[in-house]
Symmetry: C2
Subunit: 427 residues, 2 copies
């Protein structure tokens, strides 16, 4: 006999047992339903893209993490995010789409990086974007931030803060300090501010060769926390980028209030710079107030040049992305997602008569419940064990006695209490 | 400037404009909700599997259609169906799963075949299976057939028939005719019976070298239509496989009645043989009564040897698969899926005041509607055009006049009628 084939999960490619799978699925559904409720439509692009499409937009490490197919005349590769496919889609169909184009996509992406805890090679992203044609108002930022706040409210994983910055403010400040040429390096250091703290940041900035007064000004700027808009005005910086960025932040503040985003859910924080190069204005990161160590659980912002490289037209966009697989791992790890939270079945029917059992099951299904039946010859005890293993809350018993009386015994599996009811109440 | 990058869809990898995407998504959701209502859980295995896992179960053409990754130390490839990953999953986690294990998976699979109309390289399958441990009763067949019938009832695409056969009957008959060695070829010919007709089938069977009386017996058997169970008994065939198969079909008939599957939705049809080798007993195909030319839209059956090759334990299964991408294409082609059937948004709010517009939008979202707002400076006419392009049925107008009166104008976009209502009815 030949050697056994390896059936373990491949490292970096998560798969789950039913209890976790149900929980992850519920997370996905809550996110999708929230996105839908704001009338975003579910775009679903192929998992495979032409390699040249992906390479046109890949930067830094990503380029080396692309999984390519072998011996393929179309030179296909697996997408590493959902933004590049969106850019290609907009570039291709922009002429026939209705703008603003509001889409979401909750799907798997692929990166051939070394797997670590909570970092996968195949993982879900839950992206939402609004794409404009020519122009897109700051209402788009407010809407996306509102959607994200609604998602995290519904997920009920505790208080969170969406920390909002603007890259124009930062680049304007750096220009006013004659440091534009070091902008990329400085942004990268500031991005680490919440993690490594002000002291370490100062050292790294000084290592870049910045003089102490510039470092002080940058760190002061990045550390502004309350009344940020007023304090920014007081800085009295005349650089045009800075002025535009401040205007955007002021307008966004008005928009967020108008859109009814609760003030507790967001703050302005100028240290937020985002690593990715394609953001051009507003940027944000989202943190759980009680678990800052998890890092950002949802980032996003505005990108004016979505289709550059594919198309010469202007399609400005605002979007956000939840790294769903990673978030799921993190929430499980810190205990924010209880075990067995989602039942495989709402109800189990145990019936000595298959036909009447299924009639009852169907009536419960029509009420929207997920129902399974156990009509085999196994003992009652074994069937109740099944109910517990499926996290079923209610068991409906149709024994000979109940059937003779046209009744059903209803057992609450949480409290253990049991009552009798007429079958005619259901069927 | 460098050459423009090709952004068209890759041949065989379907992607859709919003109207079709919404429709396809609704199909997927209807199927998923129906599967869930019978307490099947949503398994989600990785898109990539080890090549050896796929090759262990690939047969015929499939083996040459597997997409493999290049330069990959894990030797990964894209799954070509959802059954092989299920087999691997059961083999790996069988020791900790609860049986019967009821799972569904609606996901993309990959086959590097030449794309044709409605035949894709990346396509959705919507699979549902019940896996037992050691033994699995014929109730599993009845349950899966009931789920499939419920799906097609809910999709409301017209009358359909699930044609049910049993491979043991066929192989028993062939054994009784001393034709077991030609079974594969004969099954392949019989599979074509509905398409090519009896006359062509007879010719092909005779070409195999069968004598006329055997051909007659086989075709007579495969053509049995009404009172099939009685007619099978009258054949009085003593072959043990045949006897077991007949017993299974009789028991299944009882099960289907008990499970409440409407008699109009299924029939016994012994020409149903299914090409795939892994079926061992019950097999079925599903046809739209008014569109037989579409061929089978859902096939399934029982396989006793799911994990063979991975594991020595017995995990019998019963499953069905809907080729969703192909079905979607077919239903669109014959006009069974109306254009613009699913709205991108249920309601559009046009408001001169963004804040009160969003308050109204939120109140409608809480009622479960998908709502979008248009608060920009564009003219009313342009916004109503947007409503039409999104297939919105109701537009809520909050002009200066309405806002002053604390009212809202509600415009029915289908009839064109308009009425005023107090805003306090909503907010």
């Amino acid at each position: 006999m030949k050697q056994k084939i390896k059936t373990t999960a491949v490292s970096g490619f998560p798969e789950y047992l039913p209890a976790d799978q149900l929980l992850l699925d519920q997370l996905k559904q809550t996110i999708a339903e929230t996105y839908r409720s704001f009338a975003f439509i579910p775009l679903d692009t192929p998992v495979l893209e032409r390699r040249e499409v992906l390479l046109a937009k890949a930067g830094g490490e990503t380029e080396h993490q692309i999984y390519c197919l072998e011996n393929n005349s179309d030179d296909l590769a697996l997408r590493f995010d959902l933004t590049v496919p969106l850019a290609r889609y907009i570039s291709e169909y922009g002429g026939v789409l209705t703008f603003p184009f509001k889409r979401y996509q909750i799907a798997k992406v692929y990166r051939g990086e070394r797997p670590q805890k909570g970092r996968y090679r195949e993982f879900y992203q839950a992206d939402i974007d609004i794409i404009g044609e020519g122009l897109l108002s700051l209402g788009a930022e407010a809407e996306i931030i509102k959607v994200i706040a609604t998602v995290f409210e519904k997920l009920a994983i505790g208080p969170f803060t969406i920390k909002i910055g603007n890259r124009k403010l930062l680049s304007g400040l750096l220009a006013s300090l004659n440091l534009s040429e070091l902008a990329v390096e400085i942004l990268r250091i500031l991005d680490k501010l919440p993690k490594i703290g002000e002291h370490a940041c100062r050292e790294e900035l000084e290592k870049l060769g910045l003089n102490p007064s510039a470092v002080k000004e940058i760190l002061n700027f990045a550390s502004l926390k309350e009344n940020v808009l007023e304090k920014l005005e007081l800085l009295n910086i005349k650089n045009p980028d800075f002025v535009v960025g401040l205007g955007e932040l002021q307008e966004l503040a008005e928009c967020l209030a108008d859109y009814g985003v609760a003030a507790a859910h967001y703050s302005f924080d100028l240290s937020i710079a985002r690593g990715l190069d394609y953001y051009t204005g507003t940027v944000w990161e989202t943190f759980l107030d009680d678990y800052p160590e998890l890092g950002s659980i949802c980032s996003g912002g505005r990108y004016e040049n979505l289709v550059t490289g594919f198309n010469d037209r202007a399609f400005p966009g605002v979007g956000a992305s939840i790294g769903l697989s990673r978030l799921f791992y993190q929430l499980k790890t810190v205990g924010l997602l209880p075990d067995l939270a989602v039942a495989a079945a709402d109800a189990l029917i145990i019936s000595a008569d298959r036909q009447r059992g299924e009639e009852l099951a169907d009536s419960l299904r029509r009420q929207g419940l997920n129902v399974t039946g156990a009509y085999g010859p196994e003992k009652l005890k074994k069937k109740l064990t099944l109910a517990n293993r499926l996290s079923v809350k209610t068991v409906y018993l149709l024994g000979e006695e109940e059937l003779d009386a046209d009744e059903v015994s209803i057992k609450d599996m949480v409290t253990g209490s049991q009552k009798r009811q007429a079958l005619s109440d259901f069927i």
